[in-house]
Point group: C2
């Protein structure tokens, strides 16, 4: 049964297009999914999922954890779609046609639910909320509203110079290195092979055929594009390297990197043989179902992901520096060039990113004044490089999952779950229950005092 059938409420409340400026009072419809089957108003909780960079129904269907714990936590489930994604478009079909200059904020509208214990789940929780999946949890600005938070796979430190810009690609590489002999070396060698083959027209033609590309490569720009597309494929595999068959970014077998690496065990082959093996590997990711007739280098994931919205966010508030050096990682060297990045943003959106915005507004590494947040990270997940992986205080707790990829703990229970993710989930629930108890305990004290005073 599809999980979204369980929703008993689909809500489209009005949200202001701009909560902070006063040039417009326009509103738009923001989508929320609600399920209150297990909700107990008096001692329950509200699990509030702050939507990612995509269609909320799709993320909802990939977040079984909320359903699995709803009864135990007597929880109402709320999935909020982030503005600029899915159906929640502030300017309708024109949302990406013009640069609006309006920040990608979302507002939580839950008047009347204030008295219940609100658990802010996932990456981001605050108002303003920054809702990038790969991003961050910041229940800080709205501490009064949010009692606790589970920040799963939240790279809150992947900003400014809080972590080295190479950490992400290093973890991707590590995932391939550990998943099969010579796997990362083979990928490392593939870039040169592509460059050499692409030097001639016939080489370009051969490459296009060998990789079964839908559109043949014509020039060096196409080749750069191809390399970027292949890199992104390896990154995506690292994110969804789950221990069972899944269908998140693409339909995939269990431990997909292991499957891919079976084709990538010999880095010393000729350029052509090596690229044929690269094709076999890519074909696992793009054609596990066997339906694809060719590979399209313009996309790497399902269309449920809102790439335009993300591009705009990354060009404004969410500036994450990335780089590679080809030594600590299996990619071609590429330094982080903010100037170039900013120019590209200006070309595309007419805006300049503000790299210090997030660290200024949310404190960067100085978050010890906050409390009641569980930060969970899978060690296979490249985003863990920007995550909180050590306890900061008694109530800012880190949980790491050695066999976990991106958001494994948030996915539905599965017979193939490794023990480490089971432990992580039970720890998460333990913290949540403890903090819910604290919430009601303090609330009861307040109520008693109020009665005594009257």
């Amino acid at each position: 049964m599809s999980q979204n059938q369980m929703f008993n409420l689909l809500s489209y409340p009005s949200a202001l297009v701009d909560h902070f400026g006063f040039t417009t009072d326009k509103t738009f419809k923001q989508r929320y999914l609600l399920a209150d089957e297990h909700w107990k108003k008096d001692d329950g909780s509200i699990l509030f999922y702050t939507g990612n960079e995509g269609d909320i129904v799709w993320f909802c269907n990939n977040t079984g954890f909320m359903w699995d714990v709803a009864e135990e936590l007597k929880a109402m489930l709320v999935f909020a779609e982030h503005r600029y994604y899915g159906e929640s478009l502030p300017f309708g079909n024109n949302s990406f046609k013009v640069s609006t200059g309006i920040p990608c904020f979302i507002e939580l509208h839950f008047t009347g639910l204030h008295r219940s214990c609100v658990i802010c789940k996932l990456k981001v929780c605050s108002n303003p909320v920054l809702g990038k999946s790969i991003s961050a949890i910041f229940p800080t600005a709205f501490a009064y509203f949010v009692s606790l938070a589970l920040a799963a796979s939240a790279p809150i430190w992947h900003f400014g110079n809080l972590v080295p810009c190479g950490v992400f690609m290093k973890i991707v590489t590590e995932d391939f290195r550990k998943s099969g002999p010579n796997c990362s070396e083979t990928i490392h060698n593939s870039w040169g092979a592509i460059t050499r083959l692409a030097r001639t027209g016939s080489g370009l033609h051969w490459l296009s055929e060998a990789l079964h590309l839908c559109t043949p490569l014509r020039n060096s720009q196409d080749v750069q594009h191809l390399k970027g597309w292949i890199s992104e494929t390896w990154i995506n595999l690292a994110m969804v390297d789950y221990p069972y068959e899944s269908n998140f970014l693409q339909p995939l077998p269990a431990w997909p990197i292991k499957v891919v690496c079976k084709y990538l065990n010999n880095p010393s082959l000729s350029d052509a043989q090596l690229l044929q093996n690269i094709f076999q590997a890519l074909n696992i990711y793009y054609n596990y179902s066997g339906q694809a007739r060719c590979l399209n280098i313009s996309e790497t994931t399902t269309s449920n992901l809102g790439t335009q919205g993300w591009s705009y966010q990354a060009c404004t508030e969410m500036v994450m520096p990335f780089c590679t050096n080809g030594i600590d990682d299996m990619f071609e060297p590429r330094s982080w060039n903010f100037r170039e990045y900013s120019d590209d943003c200006f070309k595309q959106w007419g805006v300049r990113p503000r790299p210090a915005w997030i660290t200024t507004v949310y404190g960067g590494r100085n978050i010890s004044s906050h409390s009641n947040i569980v930060f969970s990270n899978g060690e296979l997940d490249p985003w863990s490089g920007g995550g909180v992986t050590k306890d900061i205080t008694d109530t800012l707790v880190a949980i790491t999952i050695p066999e976990g990829a991106h958001h494994l703990d948030l996915r539905a229970r599965n017979a193939f779950d490794p023990t480490t993710v089971l432990l992580a989930r039970s720890l998460e629930v333990r913290h949540m229950k403890q903090w819910i108890r604290d919430f009601y305990c303090i609330k009861n004290i307040h109520n008693s005092l109020r009665k005594l005073n009257n």
Copy 2:
């Protein structure tokens, strides 16, 4: 010696015109006054004064407390001018010519000072900062940056329906009631007397003469204006009812309401006699120096106050409901009419106020998740009606000063200070010193742990 001569630094760093939207990257010069004579970098503090609705030099000269405690707290003093006030105009001379729609935010730019203990002084402290003197302290959003705060005379609950809209005028009335026999009754009766006198042309003429108005009254609109101006005069007197001669809003004698009330001890006089006494009372406020040749009903305070900036703020984020009923207070009954208020704002600025903005963003009464804030209120201060006057937690502490008007505790030491304000100040300093010790204690533990780990 004028206190501003003690500044060793006058700084005009660039601040973004709009920190939140991305339509413009323009900057403007924001004024800061700094004094670091007593600053000790290693164990000292930074007292950061978040500027009010006016010229920062003027407020600085009326905030002697910061100078009085600088040495004891080894403090650097920083006075930040709020945008849209004084010299800190985001659009220069055009700042009030057009409705920019840009929120009245201010940004703290103190990179490099992060490691010292920052005390956020006065009303408002956060980034965004809402800097209305009569407003609020919210070191919440920037808890990571601000270690503690003194929220002096901060009516953080004078929003939405958190307090009754009549509380402010009730306290004003109480101040007059207590300052002389029949004083508030006399004022209460004066409104009807004005109305009756203003019914005829000769009555209008007589009123203009009797009150020594610079511009004669011509119609009922002028009479309404006159009543508003007189009301505001009584309000201002309630705010600055200090126990010694002072010159804040106007040059005034000690306990000015007592002086004023000497003329207002007989509510049963004829309309004309009653208004002549009202003139004597007004003349204390507007002409203590004896220099004024006539009274100008277009102004009630020094021009250092930025009335335009405040009008815009009140028309956007800072919506404070006020009302009177003529029973619990000495004013003519006037209900709170948000619709009318909003229409007036739209007429003047082309914007509509958002009454729920502040309570949504800052939590309204739910602030118990914050810490290290002293809320001080003078019981004579009408703004105390919207203030925090009872402890909320161990680290959200309320101090009330029975003989205190607005900001008395922030003023310089004076031989005529009542004991209660001396006690309040010493309590404030005690809390600050305790929290500064806590700050350095935690910092030292962190440093030791870091050394152990390396």
